[in-house]
Amino acid sequence: MDRHYVRKLPAMWWLRKRTYLVFMLRELTSVFVVAYALFLMVVIWRADDPGSFSGLFDALDSPVGLVLHAIVLAALLFHSITWINLTPKVLVLWRDDEQVDPRLIAGANYLGWAVASAVLAWLVLK
């Protein structure tokens, strides 16, 4: 192999193609998913103490809090949608001699997501 020319991928390889960039965004937005899950756990933990709980909510009820939430929402939507769109590739089901429509598998995931969100919204807003 000594006479061969070897090309190395540059550190910024993921900026070279749209498909690579979308992949990288899907991976990076998972950080927001974890971070917001941890944040929600802190909120639940503080719910025991009404003073600290309302203090946290006052702090969030600010332009900075709103902007942060908008960013997190965008990241979560991007992550969830790109993720769910991939599920039919992983889960290939057969009903007798016919493959189950991939859109049905993605659709079931979207439905589950919608139901879970609705239940949560009902719990929080009731």
């Binding site: 061969h4 070897v6 090309r7 498909t19 590739k89 992983v90 290939v92 007798d96």
Partner: protein, 253 residues
Amino acid sequence: MAPTDSDLSGRPVVMDVFRFLPDEETEPRFQRYEIPYRDDDVVLDALNHIKAEVDATLSFRWACRMGVCGSCGMMVNGEPRLTCETFVNEFHPEPIRIEPLAHFPVARDLVINMEDFMDKLPTVKPWLVPADPKPIEEGEFLQSPAQLAAYKRFSMCINCMLCYSACPVYGLDETFIGPAALALAQRYNLDSRDGGKAERANVVTSHEGIWECTYVGDCTRVCPKEVDPAGAIQMAKLSYATDWVKSMLLPGG
């Protein structure tokens, strides 16, 4: 009217071709060729025109000219493509930049060294490993259309290695077994006549196997045979993970 050779006087196309002559140079360079082309010329025709009429020192691989042999894969304007299926018209009047398949060592000009892929391919045992060997006298293994449909898509691979050039995981870590080989492993795992799934597990589920895939999905996008290696690898992940959970829950089963 069918184009004739007289059309060659018509439109020129500019080709920027990656050149590397290992006996003469240590670094590659791009050489520009301006050649005439016909409407129905593919990039491979243009390269053959250069080789025949302009510069006989240019090296590249090709054989069938009809998208079956998988020899003429190259980077065309940064995308891994079969040059026999890529029309010059797609890019005209822009220059066309031709490079050897990405991520592989370059032997000379557009010729890559494919040893790595050739070494990896047999390690996943891409052939039928019958669960119960049966003598020829007992006849063939029968298969229903549905059993065929379960794996057929993944069996269309022509080993052109475009998927390896599209895969950044392989580009960053050449120990990765890679899309085509892992898709072929899954193709045989899905075959009703095959019983070799457990035998393939050692290699397929190793660190260099399916778990190294992060599902970028570009292999599937560039595949000229619509094999969907990315889908095959994710199916293999689910299938082997399910086996593992079962083996944990049902010891000895």
